[in-house]
């Protein structure tokens, strides 16, 4: 199955070369997707533990702290790396 991936916030630049979607095995979980995503990113640029995670518009937690979640074909995985004001 394919899952669309969007990385925004502080991490958007290292994610420039990412494919628009990840190809995952049926029944893949959010953690599977995060592991696959890390393999596509430059070394040391995987989303940090405090990066917010949402799947198809629903907030699940952070990269470091989220409940198990099984992905579905066509899901959109959104990662929002920390931002601040100023």
């Amino acid at each position: 199955m394919n899952v669309r991936v969007i990385i925004t916030g502080r991490g958007y630049l290292p994610a420039e070369g990412l494919p628009a979607s990840l190809s995952l095995a049926d029944g893949a979980t959010l953690d599977d997707a995060l592991r696959t995503l890390a393999q596509h990113l430059p070394a040391g640029e995987a989303p940090g533990g405090t990066c917010l995670v949402a799947v198809s518009g629903t907030h699940l937690g952070t990269v470091g702290d989220h409940p198990p979640h099984v992905l579905r074909e066509g899901d959109e995985l959104l990662l929002v790396a920390p931002m601040a004001g100023g």
């Binding site: 925004t8 405090t50 952070t62 959104l78 920390p82 601040a84 100023g86």
Partner: protein
């Protein structure tokens, strides 16, 4: 309820009517008070939006003196203002926009006690602060006072808004159980600062005037670099030390 002066009715004529504010909503704005914590790239435009719209009392908090690198995004700044205390210079600019509004200044970053005291004097808090410590402090103050919090953030050409209805929707601490590490100086382009700040101001106007649908419980991610936006429905964390079921007193300062 204080009525609008004829001059105020003339000033706000373009924002009173179908699809915008009702006359009652405009009066609610006049009666309302807002705290804008940091009035730089995002908070400056947010404060401008509030002042121009007629929010009766706008309290701005910003320390330090204006420096040249501020001027790529801080719309309340000016070449003439470089070297001057930001709070005073910014307040002068805001007052020049609308004589019907009171602008108060705090010339430093409020600590926990002051933040909570300020929160109890206002009807909404706009957090446009550059550090997570300050943002989470404002989050705690908003929860303690029971006033809505609008958190605006940015990095590079991206920004985000989170609108919190205390103890009903996710608070900032629900989103960040662990305080992220964040650099003091980070890249940012003024266009995204102004856009996110103005939208934060719009959310405040909606809340204060009871107009439209505030984005309570949602995160609005605006990726200007790629030209796309996303809206996320946020999950309130029942274990949250700040607003969770077992935390009537709020969490401890970070």
């Amino acid at each position: 309820m204080r009525e609008l002066l004829p001059e105020e009715q003339e000033r706000y004529a373009r924002q009173i009517g179908p699809g915008v504010l009702s006359s009652e909503g405009q009066v609610r704005l006049k009666r309302a008070a807002a705290l804008v914590a940091r009035t730089g790239g995002m908070g400056g435009p947010a404060a401008m939006v509030l002042v121009m719209a007629g929010v009766g009392r706008v309290i701005i908090a910003h320390g330090g003196r204006l420096i040249s690198p501020d001027l790529n995004r801080q719309t309340l700044g000016s070449e003439e203002g470089v070297g001057l205390p930001r709070a005073d210079a910014f307040a002068q600019r805001l007052r020049s926009l609308n004589r019907f509004v009171t602008v108060e200044t705090i010339d430093h970053e409020p600590d926990d006690a002051e933040a909570e005291a300020l929160a109890r004097r206002v009807d909404v808090i706009l957090s446009c602060a550059p550090s997570f410590a300050e943002r989470l402090r404002l989050n705690r103050a908003a929860l303690a006072a029971g006033v809505p919090l609008i958190d605006a953030a940015q990095w590079g050409m991206c920004g985000s808004l989170v609108v919190v209805r205390p103890r009903q929707t996710a608070c900032l601490r629900c989103l960040y159980p662990q305080q992220p590490e964040f650099e003091e100086l980070f890249p940012v382009v003024g266009g995204i600062s102004s856009a996110v700040g103005s939208l934060a101001g719009l959310e405040a106007i909606k809340i204060l005037s009871r107009t439209g649908q505030p984005m309570y419980g949602q995160l609005w991610s605006i990726d200007g670099y790629h030209g796309r936006t996303s809206i996320v429905n946020l999950r309130r964390d029942p274990r949250c030390p700040c607003c969770g079921d077992a935390s009537p007193a709020g969490d401890a300062p970070s």
